[in-house]
């Protein structure tokens, strides 16, 4: 009984609770707010990747391209155009979706490692082109001017409450879309294509169209997250927003949480982001890179012992609990 109620009401309750947090004075200028915002943003990014990588089974290392296009859209509107970021962000989202379809259509022919390596190549091409494209600042990137704090500018100089609400909206929107798609016809088709493309096609599912639609939606969401990141980070440059490192962030959070699951991306972000931010803050005296050394170790251990991620651990624990419970009555009798 309990698990059913949790499944039905868990997500709306969580969003409601997140939206109420600022009322308790938790959100403001501190480091905690920063970490919370990053958790929500990374959960949304990983969920975007999860749609095509988890539910669709196409492991892409190219999502930083879409993230970067969204980031540059917002940043260009503000830094070069002198406007509010909204129009630029919208343009970035649309361009990212179009680019994703144009790039993925031929690449979906490739299988396994060949697809993965092709997406590496695409990231490198975009990275290097953006590095020399002076119209958008080239290798120096775009620096934000000082603007008045407002929702119109989506800018707050010190108080992070506005950004926090923005992150909650993105998180809720993305997770709600996935929640809906999980139970919609499209979600079933997509998983059918992942499990067996030929079988799904023989039953009349247009696998290419399903994968392209998932990729376009995934790219649009990645671009939205990128636009938010540009506003939050206050500058964009190719090594930060459009690089393999950024691509790996999408993949790692999703995989550590558990791919192809609804809660996985949030759990992955809940573990990884605090780890990353706090180790960076507290282990700095041990020299550079210690946080990433620990990160690397965790990835290795997770892949060795539970490739299903945190969701995999949870379901293993639950299975054990159920097995223990079903054994108990016998002993009691």
């Amino acid at each position: 009984m309990n698990s059913k109620i949790i499944r039905k009401l868990g997500f709306p309750t969580l969003v409601f609770a997140l939206a109420l947090l600022p009322a308790f004075g938790v959100i403001g200028k501190g480091f905690t707010s920063h970490v919370l915002i990053l958790i929500l943003l990374n959960a949304a990014m990983a969920q975007a990747w999860n749609l095509i990588g988890g539910y669709g089974g196409q492991v892409s290392f190219g999502h930083s391209v879409f993230f970067g296009i969204g980031a540059y859209g917002a940043a260009y509107a503000v830094c070069v155009g002198g406007n509010a970021p909204w129009g630029g962000a919208l343009a970035g989202i649309i361009i990212a979706a179009v680019v994703s379809v144009l790039v993925s259509y031929p690449c979906f022919k490739l299988k396994g490692h060949y697809f993965a390596i092709a997406t590496f190549a695409i990231v490198e091409i975009f990275n290097r082109l953006f590095m020399v494209w002076d119209w958008i600042g080239g290798a120096l990137g775009l620096d934000y001017p000082i603007l008045k704090d407002s929702w119109k500018n989506f800018t707050w100089a010190s108080d992070k409450t506005g950004y926090y609400y923005g992150a909650v909206v993105i998180f809720a929107l993305v997770f709600a879309i996935i929640k809906y798609l999980e139970k919609a016809r499209f979600g079933y088709y997509l998983r059918a294509v992942r499990e067996g493309q030929e079988t799904a096609e023989s039953l009349g599912v247009n696998s290419t169209r399903m994968k392209l639609a998932a990729m376009a939606l995934s790219a649009a969401v990645a671009a939205l997250c990128g636009a938010f990141f540009a506003q939050y980070n206050y500058r964009v440059d190719p090594p930060t927003v459009m690089s393999l490192d950024m691509s790996m962030k999408f993949v790692l959070v999703a995989i550590l949480g558990g791919i192809g699951t609804f809660w996985g991306p949030l759990l992955g972000a809940l573990v990884l982001i605090p780890l990353q931010e706090y180790t960076r803050a507290y282990l700095a005296k041990l020299g550079s890179g210690v946080d990433l050394i620990i990160f690397g170790l965790i990835i290795i251990l997770m892949m060795e012992f539970q490739p299903g991620g945190i969701m995999g651990i949870l379901s293993a624990v639950r299975k054990k609990a159920i097995a223990a419970r079903s054994q108990k009555p016998e002993g009691a009798r």
Binding site: Y114, A116, A118, F120, V251, I255, F295, M303
Partner: protein
């Protein structure tokens, strides 16, 4: 005209270098179907071995490549035992686990050796060149090219002419069947990973003769090695050599005709075009 010859020769030198770097990766990928993401970091580790031996004991990379190859053999065997073996056969797990390994190695180097570029001064080959009329052949690149041909040739002969090589090929085609025929596939995997690592160790051991060593140097080399192997086709040594030469030539010609900043755009672009026409690579089956 002599300019063009010069550019083509430069492309051939870098192509041969890429071939040498990719040889081990090709072997590992072909036999085990594992994409070792830490390959570039293995190269970087080998460069540090050679650099420190040169810096502390005044040994030349022409000698220390042996030590770097041996060190990388051990590092690879350990990586196989501790990381790859425990994740093999689980979809993307080996790729991501070796990505974790690459983060570990890269940041360990960053932490211990700082991000500084380290240059080995006055090595035997540094700055020397052979001049043919108007064409200049730099000695370090030339020697690395020779090493590349020797290593790739040896690998090819080893795979096609020896009993152990046949066992490796049998394992690559169908590990299950090979095991039933009495091949110790576990030992094959271990040795293939070790030999693959030793190959990149040789490459990394030679490189400090003319390249600066730093923790990030493996990233680009690793990516190019992926391209070479995927372009050449699943575990094909001749394919890898041809792909490496194509990539080296494209890089050099694009750098000459457009601008140096576009050379990797051209390299990755050509890769995409070829792979889309031949999804399994040039020599793949």
């Amino acid at each position: 005209m002599s300019m063009l010859i010069q550019v083509v020769l430069d492309g051939i030198w870098s192509g041969l270098l890429y071939g040498l770097v990719a040889a081990g990766l090709s072997l590992i990928w072909g036999v085990m179907d594992v994409l070792n993401f830490a390959h570039g970091e293995f190269l970087m580790a080998a460069m540090y071995v050679s650099f420190w031996l040169g810096f502390l004991f005044k040994l030349d990379p022409l000698v220390t490549w042996i030590a770097a190859g041996a060190f990388l053999f051990i590092l690879s065997v350990l990586s196989y035992k501790l990381v790859v073996k425990r994740t093999m056969g689980k979809a993307m797990a080996p790729l991501l686990a070796t990505f974790g390994l690459s983060m570990l190695i890269k940041n360990f180097a960053m932490n211990r050796f700082t991000p500084n570029f380290r240059i080995l001064s006055d090595t035997v080959m540094d700055g020397k060149s052979i001049i043919f009329g108007e064409v200049v052949i730099p000695v370090p690149q030339f020697v690395v090219g020779i090493f590349s041909l020797v290593v790739l040739g040896a690998l090819y002969l080893f795979l096609t002419r020896t009993r152990f090589g046949w066992a490796v090929q049998a394992t690559a085609m169908d590990a299950e069947a090979a095991r039933l025929m009495g091949v110790n596939t576990e030992r094959i995997f271990l040795l293939v990973f070790g030999i693959g690592g030793a190959c990149v160790g040789v490459a990394g051991g030679l490189l400090p003769s003319y390249l600066a060593t730093h923790p990030d140097i493996g990233t680009l080399f690793g990516l190019i090695a992926f391209m070479v192997v995927a372009l050449g086709g699943f575990g094909s040594i001749p394919g890898a050599l041809l792909a490496a030469l194509i990539i080296g030539l494209v890089e050099s010609l694009a750098g000459f005709y457009f601008a140096p900043v576009y050379k990797y755009v051209a390299v990755f672009g050509i890769y995409l075009v070829v792979i889309l026409v031949r999804p399994k690579g040039l020599f793949g089956w």
